[in-house]
Amino acid sequence: MTPEWIFGLAGVLVAAAPLVIAVVGETLSERAGVVNLSLNGAMLLAAMVGFAAAVQTGSLELGFLAATMIGALMALVVAFASLTLRQSQVAVGLVLALLGRDLAYFLGSPFMNIPGPRVGPLPIPVLKDLPILGPLLFQQTPTVYISVLVVVAAWIWMFRTRPGLVLRCVGERPSAAFGRGVPVTRVRYGYAVLGGALVGFAGAAYILDFKGGWQGPISGMDGIGWIVLAITIFGGWHPVRGAFGVLLFALLQWLSLVVQPSLPGIPPQVFYVVPFPLMIFALLLTNLGNAEWVQMALSRLPESRRRLAFRILHSLRVSPPAGLGMAFKEE
């Protein structure tokens, strides 16, 4: 008999999969220098459209396709406004985040709480029968497998291929990349749209797999996009570290739900927002090493302990791609 906590952990993976895909998408976009702040709206709208398309056509594939295209389209708007029109990425992203959310709720109201197709589990032959690992890893839905593939592919792409080298260089120092013949703006467009497509796919995965239906404002999805942005930072713009960030996060959230029954005084609504203080806390950890007062405080510690504290903070600290969010003018 498989113990129950295994299923709990398997559920953590299902909950994490959409976030992992979205984090990788945003990582790619930000590595190229485009901050797509519209994530929250883009994921909601993509999820709604994906669900609607799946309901209308009866095809999950078309649902995912529609969602992916919505995500890519939103990213394209951000890229166009910031790269071609040189508007503030924050302003455009924020407006799109709000607009996407309202659009999703408006257009999605006829689709609320209706039954629709849902991604089913896809057990992998032979491996599924392994003890513990089988139910945990190999009786999952396709989105979980896809999320793992996306992380691995992103890592290989970024660190083992020539286009990946170009991507890292563009984010690091666009002017130098330009000097070596890289069409910086085109590359930025490409990765912003690719990242947006992944984000859209993630939105669909959230509704069509994890949640199993569109419930409008109570889908529990509002805010996910912001968490994805925070984890992208926490992950130091590295796909693998980002994925671990998501897992850690989903695990803590699950644990908070596990302990909930033992704390009857606290209404269940409170537990839904546990991620947000976690998000602040995660950002706190990555930023702490940079704060001057922390360094001053550390310098007063005895040498041995200071070195340990410094090493911990240093390993958590991340430094963004130097060209992040910076306008770059070709000419």
Binding site: R86, D102, F106, P267, K329
Partner: protein, 363 residues
Amino acid sequence: MRCKEALLPHIRSSRWIEFGIQSLSVLMALLFTTLVLVMAGAPPLEAYRQMLEGAFGSLKRMTDVLATWAPLIMVTSGLLLTFTAGLWNVGVEGQIMLGAIAATGVIRALQETGLPPFVILILAMVAGMAGGAAWAGLVGLLKIYTGIHEIFGGLGLNFLATTLILWLIFGPWKRPGIASMSGTEPFPEHLWLPVLPGLRLSPWTLILALSSIVVVYVLLMNTHFGLRLKAIGKNIRAAHRLGVPTSRYMFLALLGCGAIAGLVGALQVTATYHRLIHAISSGYGYMGLLVGMLANYRVLWSVLVAFFFAALNIGGIQLMVTLRLDSTLSGVMQGALVLFVLLAQGSQARWKPTLIPESRDDA
């Protein structure tokens, strides 16, 4: 985009071009909304007619618009302080909520004491301001001492504020007997902020709204405080070097914005809902951000834009009643409007020969 506008004196001289581009973007936004309506299977023209009707159909409705305009312009004027300092105070939503919580707390604590109602109400307002300022101060502390961007700090605190309200409604402040989403027990009627007879509009709200506009306008245009905020917003490093205490001023801008937002929260509790509910902020915070952006961070323009947005909101309620359309349509229109205006401003600056000296492409 803020600097662009100030950079190009020759664009200002040809106002009609600017006007043309702005109206073009309004048209595009209208087109976009029409498309959305068609997709939702609603008759667009009828929907627009209903919205107009809903906003201006009667004197009562027009005062409803004003009743929405007043808190909206207050939030916006508060946000102009933080916008000027270059801060994206997305946490304003939570600051409204904290103001509402603090005001409710004061009223609940004092309603049995027999203090004169106006004293309780004033204390509730003050508490609301303090609550909003404290929540904003938290964003400021996170930013100044740990470098967490105000967008993330603010958003996190927004969700925390929502939780806090839910916890209060379902926990310590729940209605006797049943705890539900309908909020806390309403206050006794003598503790409601007086409204004009037969209307939902309170003269006190209007007075507070007008004074917040004036205060923010004078602060930004005619004081050293405002100039320093502007300097920080345009270039924080240079402002610091020139001797502006940047952290302190950013903190003050946040406190000011939070106080105004908290006051709005207190008004929501005392003048509109007379209790604490889950959606106490009515989304005024996010709307205020859009108003500020659309008005290009100018005080006087904000007054008009806020009025327009308020009319959209009230008109949107009518749609829900007559055409069974979700009222988020007004949000769609507002968002689309800001988006297209941003795009239009960008194209204007992009495809026009400018006097801007080319910046070096690398730092």
